[in-house]
Symmetry: C2
Subunit: 378 residues, 2 copies
C-alpha cells in the first residue's frame, strides 16, 4: 500500500432531496462513486475503505428540498493532475440529476501542484501599463469578414483606447479569415495603433481548435506579437489551457471563454456553482481573466452569481494569483457606472455589440467607452 | 468575400417556451448567437446577413411548453474543425436555460471532414476475433490497488473470457499505481492470459490526463501491446479523442467514457440529447465504443434514451462507421437476457461491480458472465 499523507480536500455538494436519510445515503454513494467506484463491502483493503474513499464531513439542511453535504477526499486521489481533480469533483456524479458542486476547499499541498495564472491581475496590468482603472475589453467580429477587414476594426478599436481586443469566440480557422493570416494582420494592427497612442493594447486571438494545433496556434500568436490568447476550455479541455499557461516559452496572457460550458451553470440543481467553476477552477487552470455573461444581458446569470465569480477570482487560494472577472454577454455602455460600483477596479468590461452600435465611428465609440470607464475612475 | 457552397447542416433545438412569438424570437437569436454574435441591423455585408447567419428552417410546437426549432448553418462556419462544430451547435447558447440540441443532420461534405471511428464495430470485432455474440466488457479497479494487484485482476478476468478490460476511469497517474507501470503490467497480464485461452482479449488503459501527456500515454499503451485506450472526452476535450483516433501510428481501439459529461444529459430542457451526444458526436469524435449508464442502474437514463444512443451509434452517417453502445453504470448480470433482446448483437455489456460480487473467484465469475451472454446467443 501507499501511505496517504492524511491531507484531504473538501467539496461541498448541494443534494436535491427532502429526506435526511436519502441525503445520507446519497452522500455515502458519492464518497464511493468519486473514488473507488466499487461496492463498499468488497473493498480489498481496510485503508482503502477507511482512508481512500470520500468521507462525509458534514451534512446540513439547506432550505426547502435540499441538503449540503461536505465530502473530503485524500489529495492523493488526484495524482497532481487537473483532469483527475475535475473527475473526483464531479466526474460520474455529473450523470446523476440533483447534485451540484458548490465549492472546493483545498490545502496548499494540492493547490501548489498547479501554477495557476501566469500573470493574474498584476501581471496583466503590467503588460498593458494600466494601473488605475478597470480595463477595457472588446471583441472583433463578425465571422465572415476577411482578415484585413477584421484587422481594420482592431486598429480602430486600439486607436480608440481599448486595452484588450479579443477575437470573437466563433472565429476559428474558417476560410473567411484563416487563423494565421488573421492573427498576423490583427496583431500588426494593434502594434501600429500602439505606436500612435503610446499604449500597450493587446490582441488575443481565439486559439480554440484541433488538439494537435493548439500549441502551434499559441506559438503563432506569440511570434506575431499578439501578447495573449482566447481559449474555450469546455471545447479544448481545461488542461489544454493549463498547459499553455504553464509554458514558459509562450508566456502569454490567457483569457478563458465560457462557450459550451453553460450546462454546468444554468441549473441550480446540477453542475458546478459559478464561483467554483468560473473562479476557482479557471484560476487553477491558468486563466488570467475569465469571460462570463453579466447579469442583465442576454443570458441568465444573476447579480449574486456574478458577485460570487468576482469574489472567487480574487479570494486567497494558496499561491495562485487573483484574476480578472470579465463581465460581458450583451453588456451596454450605460451599465458601466453601476458595474464599476459593484466590481471595483479589478474588472475588465467586455463590451462588443454596443460599441459598434453607438455611432458609425468605431474609434470614437471606443474613446467614449474609455471616457465612461475613466469618469470618476476608481 | 468568400463564396459559400450553399451546403448547410441542420440542428433541431428544443426551446422551452409556451409562446410561438417567443419561440420565433429565440430562434432568430440563436441564428445570430451561434454564428456572427452581432446585432442583425449592423451586419457589414448582405451575404453575411442573408447566408452566413443561421436560418430558421422550421418551427413546430412540441407538446406542452416547448417548440422545436430547426436551424441550418452553412458548413463553412465550422471550418472543418470539431471544436468549432460543437461551438456552432451549442457554444454560447449552452448558457441560456431552456435550449436543448436534439439532433444534427449534416451533409456528407461536412461529415467527410471527419474520419470518425478507426475501427467501428467491424474493426473492433476483428481485433477481438469475436463475430457471433455481444462483447463482454469490464473494468479493473478499485483505485488504491498497486499495479501488480490490478494486473492480477486483469489476468483473472481475461482468463475468464472477458473481451475488453478497461481501467476504471478513476485510475489516472496516482502513486498507488502509476500509469506506465500499471499499463505495462496489465497489458502483459492480458497477453499471458491470451496465450492460455487462445483469445484476443484487450486491455484499455485510461489515458485521460494532462494535455501534453495524452499522446505519450497512448503511445505507451500501444508500445506495451494494450490494443485500446479509454478516454473521457469531457475532461480531455472531444478533439483530443478525435486526434488520437486519427493517428495512424497509434491505430488503437478507442473507448469513450462519460465522466464530467453528465450536465449535458441530465435535464430534458438543456444540453444535448442522448442520441446526438453519445451517438452522433462520439462517432464524429472517433470513439469505437461509447460507455454510458444503462437504464435501471444507479444513474437516471431511461430505456428510450438508451435506445436512442444505440440507434445513433448504428444509423447511417456518411462514411462514418457504426460503433458499439456500451451500457454500464451498475449493470447486473441478471439483466443481460433482457438487454440482449433490446440491444441485439452489436453491444458491449459493461459489468463491473456485479462481477466481483458474484463469488470470490473472479475467473469463475467472468466465465459465468460469458455463459450468460452466450446462452441463446444472438
Amino acid at each position: 500500500m501507499t501511505t496517504l499523507s492524511g491531507e484531504r480536500f473538501q467539496v461541498a455538494y448541494r443534494l436535491a432531496t427532502t429526506s435526511l436519510g436519502a441525503a445520507r445515503a446519497w452522500t455515502r454513494a458519492i464518497c464511493l462513486e468519486q473514488t473507488v467506484e466499487f461496492p463498499a463491502d468488497l473493498l480489498p483493503a481496510d485503508w482503502i475503505a477507511q482512508e481512500l474513499v470520500g468521507r462525509e464531513e458534514s451534512l446540513t439542511p439547506a432550505g426547502e428540498g435540499a441538503f449540503i453535504a461536505t465530502v473530503s477526499y485524500p489529495i492523493e486521489t488526484v495524482g497532481g493532475e487537473l483532469p483527475q481533480l475535475l473527475n473526483v469533483l464531479l466526474g460520474n456524479i455529473s450523470l446523476q440529476p440533483g447534485v451540484r458542486a458548490l465549492r472546493m476547499d483545498a490545502p496548499e499541498s494540492l493547490l501548489n501542484a498547479f501554477r495557476g495564472p501566469r500573470l493574474g491581475c498584476g501581471g496583466l496590468r503590467a503588460l498593458l501599463g494600466v494601473w488605475d482603472r478597470p480595463l477595457l475589453f472588446t471583441a472583433v467580429k463578425p465571422m465572415g469578414l476577411s482578415a484585413s477587414e477584421l484587422a481594420d476594426r482592431v486598429y480602430q478599436m486600439a486607436l480608440g483606447g481599448v486595452d484588450v481586443i479579443k477575437d470573437d469566440h466563433g472565429l476559428a480557422n474558417q476560410a473567411f479569415a484563416p487563423y494565421r493570416e488573421r492573427v498576423a494582420r490583427c496583431a500588426e494592427a494593434v502594434q501600429k495603433a500602439n505606436r500612435l497612442t503610446g499604449a500597450q493594447a493587446l490582441y488575443a486571438p481565439n486559439i480554440t481548435g484541433p488538439f494537435d494545433q493548439l500549441r502551434e496556434r499559441a506559438q503563432w500568436a506569440k511570434s506575431m506579437g499578439a501578447g495573449g490568447i482566447l481559449i474555450c476550455p469546455a471545447l479544448s479541455g481545461f488542461d489544454a489551457m493549463r498547459a499553455l499557461a504553464d509554458d514558459d516559452a509562450l508566456s502569454l496572457a490567457i483569457f478563458s471563454h465560457p462557450a459550451f460550458l453553460g450546462n454546468f451553470l444554468t441549473s441550480a440543481e446540477s453542475g458546478i456553482a459559478h464561483g467554483a467553476l468560473l473562479g476557482q477552477i479557471m484560476r487553477l487552470a491558468g486563466a488570467d481573466a475569465v469571460v462570463y455573461p453579466n447579469f442583465g444581458g442576454r443570458f441568465s446569470f444573476t447579480r449574486a452569481q456574478c458577485e460570487e465569480i468576482a469574489r472567487e477570482a480574487a479570494a486567497p487560494m494558496g499561491a495562485l494569483k487573483p484574476i480578472f472577472p470579465c463581465p460581458g454577454g450583451g453588456m451596454t455602455l450605460d451599465r458601466i457606472p453601476e458595474l464599476k460600483a459593484m466590481y471595483g477596479r479589478d474588472v475588465m468590461f467586455l463590451v462588443g455589440g454596443d460599441i459598434v452600435r453607438h455611432s458609425p465611428d468605431l474609434t470614437a465609440n471606443c474613446r467614449y467607452f474609455r471616457s465612461v470607464v475613466e469618469s470618476g475612475a476608481l
